[in-house]
Symmetry: C2
Subunit: 152 residues, 2 copies
DNA sequence: ACTTAAGTGTAGCCAAGGCTACATTCCAGA
DNA sequence: TCTGGAATGTAGCCTTGGCTACACTTAAGT
């Protein structure tokens, strides 16, 4: 999935038939969708590296609930994108870029879980739903969440 | 994408290495991801039918920001799944099941936008982010949102 | 009544991300 | 040391959901 051009964001005159705006929104959602995979993997690998000292493809597969060939294929994509490195039969490691991304993703995840909890979502549901929702929260939304939690 | 078995949900003893739980969460997120497309289309078609009186594939394509062959392909899927009907060169219509789904999806969308607004997310971001997040909100979360908005 | 542009449909390509089946490598215990 | 099972890697298939290029209807304007 190649990201669509996401064309120029002309501000829409109020009250106009806002088709382009809607199309942009869907476009943004599609881009986010294609990034979710990369984000989940990087976060998980970072987690494994810090808690277990190593990240092996089977561990990644098991934690994600997919078969190991699926995991390996995606890890290959991470390598292509310069986020991870791995030598055959050795573990997986993150490049600085990968680590950077992992930390950003984790912070975002935690923020969203916190917000969900603070509006009364049960812990289990908050954790589960955040797993999907986190990939769609824009900067503006994250800022608002932080401010809300702060002012509570 | 076929939905994975989503294996048995044994409740996890607290403090244990909660791998299965995490795998289940990712599994749930994957299922949700494959449903997003269907939900978006059904909601949009319903919207076009009520506001324009008809839903044509090019309109759907334009509103979603994709080419019309892409739209047609997905609409074919809706037909396969019994959510929509269409005769060549005529418009697209929703079956009762499709309408039911459309209404549920729209209600959910609105609820999420409302919640985001109520915690201080700017309108534009709320609308855009809801487009992606809505597909991941569980029943428990939606109930919590409703309760939160109610008690405000 | 024709012609033509817009709308609609079809064919075929690509990448992502699942899967199963099979091959290879590693390492621990006999 | 050697050997067998677990871990890892590869090959090949499927579906989804994008795309472009091309074909066919429909309907509108002259």
């Amino acid at each position: 999935m190649k990201e669509p051009p996401l064309s120029d964001s002309l501000t829409q005159p109020a009250g106009m038939p806002a088709e382009p705006t809607q199309a942009q929104r869907f476009g943004r959602a599609r881009s986010a969708r294609s990034a979710t995979q990369v984000e989940d993997y990087v976060e998980l690998i970072d987690d494994l590296l810090t808690t277990q000292g190593e990240a092996r493809s089977t561990d990644v597969a098991r934690r994600l609930g997919v078969t190991h060939p699926s995991a390996i294929k995606t890890i290959a994509r991470l390598k292509r994108e310069g986020l991870a490195t791995a030598k055959p039969y050795r573990g997986i490691f993150l490049t600085p870029a990968g680590q950077e991304l992992a930390h950003r993703v984790r912070a975002r995840h935690r923020l969203i879980v916190e917000l969900l909890l603070s509006v009364g979502v049960p812990r289990e549901a908050a954790e589960a739903d955040a797993e999907g929702m986190e990939h769609y929260a824009s900067e503006a939304t994250l800022e608002a969440f932080a401010a809300f939690l702060d002012g509570k």
